[in-house]
């Protein structure tokens, strides 16, 4: 984060505002965290309002903005999709995966508008746009020498992918939507000349006679190519990256990765995410793993190396105060960056130096406000 977030003059009266979906606990919890520190409850501009009312942003009166996730709100999703060139009404069912590219494009338009408004943001809109584009993010990490699993753009059709698979004989990759959030649409694919297996947190359904993909909290395994072709036929065209599937380190209870929240350049709150499936996202009902067991297995120096890598990854986005970085450890216990998430600070009840993640971020605002 650079210095112009808090211009040197007039530090004492900086007013913070939030942009988000007010019904979401992210907003409520963060407001509560600010209030708990003795600050005024920061107002929240709803994405619905921002999207439906052109002047809403102009009216916003604040010195600093914290942007939060537009997710988990069907009306916002519809409006973003429409703004991004999609249909006026997406007609997506609850949990249905669709219009990922349009959604992202729409969100980028919103981010751009916010940037145009000129109010400093805790996380810069331009950074957020890149963090939500897996290919652009990957490129940025490569430029800065951050350890990332080898990745490339996936082909746009299942047929081309199959030809690549055949040419390669056997292999294993992650396919991730370029513009998906969390584990949505992420597929673990492995194959040999004789069989294939796609593991993904989604259900393949028929909708008005057409195949449709529904996000699911349970992970399904598809082994028939016909099913896999249907799934990839929906996910590949809007863009995916094809990433090396590095076998993750395992602890009692399954494979793990780390979510490390980096705030102001420092790795702070972290959790071990654990699953019996290739996807370790906490959203999927996976468990928080045993930190003591991990420390005992890999030792403090390797854990520190993972934290340093998370800090290095966050440093690729110097205009952002914080970011959630997913670090995976391979069987040799070397760290790799899986993802970076601009809204990766939702880590309820997790304490570091006695404060929650939101309290730590709010504290940073508070300290900056008071430090005249």
């Amino acid at each position: 984060m650079n210095g112009d977030l808090w211009p040197s003059a007039n530090r004492s009266n900086r007013r913070l505002a939030l942009i988000g979906n007010p019904e979401n606990r992210r907003i409520r919890d963060f407001q509560a965290a600010v209030v708990a520190l003795g600050g005024p409850r920061p107002p929240c501009l709803a994405y619905t309002e921002l999207l439906s009312d052109d002047s809403a942003l102009a009216r916003l009166d604040a010195d600093v903005l914290r942007l939060d996730s537009p997710g988990e709100n069907a009306a916002v999703a519809d409006a973003l999709i429409a703004l991004g060139g999609g249909p006026a009404r997406s007609n997506l069912d609850l949990g249905e995966i669709g219009f990922l590219r349009e959604y992202h494009r729409g969100f980028c338009v919103v981010l751009d508008r916010i940037a145009q408004r000129g109010i400093p943001c805790l996380n810069a809109p331009a950074d957020i746009a890149i963090m939500f584009d897996k290919w652009a993010g990957h490129q940025r990490f490569l430029q800065h020498g951050v350890a990332r699993p080898p990745a490339e753009l996936a082909p746009a059709t299942a047929g081309t992918l199959r030809a690549q698979m055949r040419a390669q004989g056997s292999g294993r990759v992650f396919l991730k939507p370029l513009h998906g959030s969390s584990a949505s649409g992420v597929c673990a694919l492995r194959w040999t000349p004789h069989r294939q297996q796609l593991i993904a947190p989604l259900r393949l359904q028929s909708k008005h006679g057409e195949p449709a993909l529904i996000n699911s909290l349970s992970v399904s395994t598809y082994t028939a190519w016909a099913d896999i072709e249907l799934i990839l036929g929906l996910l590949l065209p809007p863009g995916m990256i094809r990433e090396q599937w590095i076998p993750k380190l395992t602890l009692p209870g399954g494979a793990i990765d780390l979510r490390v929240l980096v705030i102001a350049g420092e790795a702070r709150h972290w959790v071990i995410r654990q699953s019996r499936h290739p996807m370790t996202n906490l959203h999927l009902g996976n468990q928080r793993g045993d930190a003591a067991a991990l420390r005992e297995l890999i030792g403090q120096p390797k854990l520190e190396a993972a934290f340093r890598l998370a800090e290095q990854a966050a440093a690729c986005f110097p205009d952002s105060l914080y970011a959630g970085v997913d670090i995976l450890l391979d069987a040799q216990q070397r760290p790799w960056v899986g993802e970076i998430n601009a809204f990766g600070d939702l880590l309820p009840r997790l304490l570091h130096r006695g404060e929650t993640a939101y309290a730590a971020i709010a504290q940073y605002c508070h300290a900056a406000r008071c430090a005249v």
Binding site: G169, S170, G171, R172, R190, T192, P193, R195, Q197, T221, Q244, W245, I246, P247, K248, T250, L251, P252, G253, G254, A255, R276, P278, D330, A331, Q332
Partner: protein, 405 residues
Amino acid sequence: MKRNLIYMDAKSSKFWNIEQSGNTFTVTYGRTGTDGQSQIKSFADEAVATKEAAKLIKEKLGKGYVNAAPSAPASAPANGAAGDATDEPIPLVAFSSINRREDIGENIGTFVGQRVVDYDADKPVKADVCYRFRSDWETNEVIPNLEAYFETDAALTATALVLGAWHGDDSEKTSAEVVATLVKGRDRLPRLAAIFMGDITSEENEMSWIKQSDLSPLLAAFPRLQLLRARGGDGLALTVPQHAHLRALALETGGMDVSVLRSVCTSDFPNLEYLELWLGTDQYGANYSVADLQPILSGRLFPKLKYLGLRNCQLADEVAAVVVNSPLLQRLETLDLSLGVLTDEGARALLLLPLNTTLKKLNLHYNYLSADLVRQLKALPLVVDASKPSDMDVNDEWRFVAVGE
């Protein structure tokens, strides 16, 4: 009064000793190979101390500890050169590996009681650990690493080896090359007593995708082998199933081909005490019927058998219905039908287990039993493990073996 107990599984190897003298007892416990720590407790009189000690011992036995004294002395190897007095029988408890469904997802931390360490060509080789050889996703140095290890003095005293993912990024690669390399290095591994061929987690490769090969060359090459454990059923074979001293055979598969079962049923393992077979589901290639288990259950084979595990079995109910009629029950200590699709139907059959035999333990971990049947089974005069992973849905219409979802 003195009792020495040990505990071993895929994660740990521990001891727990208690020695009573008058109204005082001393408990010493810790990891195997360490001195551990001691606690001394005193009581009002000797009777109270004896009672408290008995309570603690019972508690430990309930947790899976067993007497440290070897359950049976290993028979002396026929070959005089190999038969020096230092051959120690591996305790029966150390043959088991995966006890819980969740253990399946992780690499082992200990093997036959020894700490498992990944072999690293850049580090000095130690003599007091069990090395694991495996590829990672970038490089596959398993063969050169094995060959380098054979050149060290540590190999000459090694009693256990673990082979992990040997396939690198080519999941089609079978274990044949690794087997051949071990066979070639036989003279550098004169004391090898335990091999795990396939410490591979689902993160590295699905159990049903692991490509195995004929493992019987290992039996021929290592006359002092006591345990052969393998994971993965695809391509698995034991074409010459013979070994004069083998005490334990464990074959973990997602679906066992009937030809492997046939090899076990026509084997010559006169000293086998421990037989663990993961039978799996037809989805993953299992093509046996319960009738194919008859030669094992008939009791004609394996006169020394103490542990029988028919695990991860789709047909666990049918297996249970036949097992209770098996003459083997007259000599088994542990019957293990865990990780399979065992429902109340199979459990009702198990209620008919003959009592007053050598049988002490019934492992039914991961099951689809109702609370009522669990209660009835627990009333049997046996140590019964009828635990379930917390995420199991007994009422689910679809019922899966532990490896097979």
